[in-house]
């Protein structure tokens, strides 16, 4: 079974530039999560979806961050006008609500550096 895949693996931007991250969850997983992990900290949830619906985006900085999952499979997280404080690893995870929904499977992450 293929795991969660993410691309790109690395991104380096100047402040003010935009960037998109892409996530392909495990096949059949209906729930998809995006986390931000600053250096030397634990992952912090930004947003999560059940199928194509946003369940919770309360921690997503809505002025510059957006996330979509239009067909309930792959997802894209976008940062408009990146800031140095956005420097972090962005992790995608998926789970299956019908199974052990407490277990989330993480991708390798995208390391973002904003200069």
């Amino acid at each position: 079974e293929a795991g969660v895949t993410q691309s790109p693996r690395y991104a380096v931007l100047q402040e003010g530039q935009a960037v998109s991250f892409w996530c392909d969850p495990i096949s059949g997983h209906d729930t998809l999560y995006w986390y931000q992990q600053p250096r030397d900290q634990g992952p912090q949830l930004l947003v999560y979806f059940r199928d194509e619906a946003v369940i919770d985006n309360s921690q997503l900085p809505s002025d510059r961050f957006s996330a979509v999952r239009p067909k309930g499979t792959n997802s894209t997280l976008k940062i408009q006008s990146a800031k140095q404080g956005d420097t972090a690893t962005y992790l995608c995870a998926s789970s299956f609500a019908g199974g052990n929904q407490d277990t989330q499977y993480f991708g390798p992450g995208t390391r973002l550096l904003v200069l």
Binding site: Y33, Q41, L45, N100
Partner: protein, 110 residues
């Protein structure tokens, strides 16, 4: 914050030694999970312990949960160099939201 310990802790031990990592949490949860994150990888679940369980074992791992003190521990017996990683505990908030602690950096040297 949901967590009692805010700073990333670091442990350095020799291969073969046993180690125990602790975490405490502030808000009610029915599940505590322990994840391991190796360098350049995403976190991977090691063990999940529910509020009606005091202890859970998986191979060389042993997790405990004390709901009265809102604390959990993860013990690894006979550590290997490949156990070098960051270890996080996480609780489940409303719905399926995982809330991670700050983690413990474990380095196991030969």
């Amino acid at each position: 914050s949901q967590w009692g310990e805010e700073n990333l802790q670091a442990l350095s031990i020799q291969e073969g030694e046993d180690v125990t990592m602790n975490c405490s949490y502030k808000t009610y949860t029915t599940v505590v999970q322990w994840y391991r994150q190796k360098s350049g990888k995403g976190p991977a679940q090691l063990i999940l312990i529910r509020s009606n369980e005091r202890e859970k074992r998986s191979g060389r791992l042993r997790a405990t949960l004390d709901t009265s003190s809102q604390s959990s521990s993860l013990s690894i017996t006979g550590t290997l160099a490949t156990d070098t990683a960051v270890y996080f505990c996480a609780t489940t908030s409303s719905g399926q939201k995982l809330v991670f602690g700050q983690g413990t950096i474990l380095k196991v040297y030969l």
